[in-house]
Amino acid sequence: MHELPVTQSILDIALKHAQKADAKRITDLHIVMGELTKLVDESIQFYWDIIAKDTIAEGAKLHFRIVPAEFQCMACFEKYKPDGEEFSCPNCGAVGVKIVAGEEFSLEAIDVE
């Protein structure tokens, strides 16, 4: 997987916003991550500890808010959670969905001193 470039992006964005706010230190990062992104938070944390070293974000805590996947049936508009291999609508059996949630991947906020 590509957790290393992703972690680098998180650091770049955090440092940019911290600098704008004249912060001395970043203590916490709040990350929103959809279930469908299939990224591994432990792996991001692992890279973070290495690449944030010697920056003002060294030692900052990463907080992940995981957003579960949600589909909406395009035939009957029922909203449901996909269950493993079963993508079809539990209400009407149709296939063809809109992804309502689960693809998010953003840095929501940072805490600075």
Partner: protein, 218 residues
Amino acid sequence: MTQRIPVVERILSANDKLAEENKSRLDAANVFAINLMASPGAGKTSLIEQTLPRLAEKLRVAVVDGDIATSIDADRAAVAGAAVAVQINTGGECHLDAVMLQQALGQIDLTTVDMLLVENVGNLVCPASFALGTHKSVLVASIPEGDDKPYKYPGMYRGVDGLVINKIDLLPYIDFKMDYFQKGVEALNPGLITFPLSCRTGEGLDAWVEWLLNGART
């Protein structure tokens, strides 16, 4: 004192921004660009080899090949008739990103080509997350991979504009349930245009080439 700063920035926004720049550059030169993605061995390079001679009379095609190592694929594309073939070695990275394509575009005189085929690194996961700035994304699936792939790699199947199903000449020998496969595709990507074909026998290639030609004309 601790202070919270709202950020709300997509984490891959830097890549997305660069992808937009790539697209503007391609548009300015009137080059129609395709991002070909697939698992290793599905037949991306074979598809390019079969496609190039069929476009030769009509379009000048550049090929950018992404691989972890070697220039085997770019060499094959050059032999098959690519106007330019550029190899990107990602040095271990599992996908191409917009920066790598930007560097490759720097090695191509875009005024001398009409179409760009980008062969991504063989992988059904990571390439789906990194926009390159191409106009269309195409997934090359193949019969021996099995019919469960849409269910296992929904991110990839969801994000593409076209689907090639390669190696259909092997259907009699492999337990591949086309209905089951297509049900998964239809769930994730309703109405997706699909090209069942065989790079070995040439069956089905005409429809694929016609689709490329139409895309390049518009």
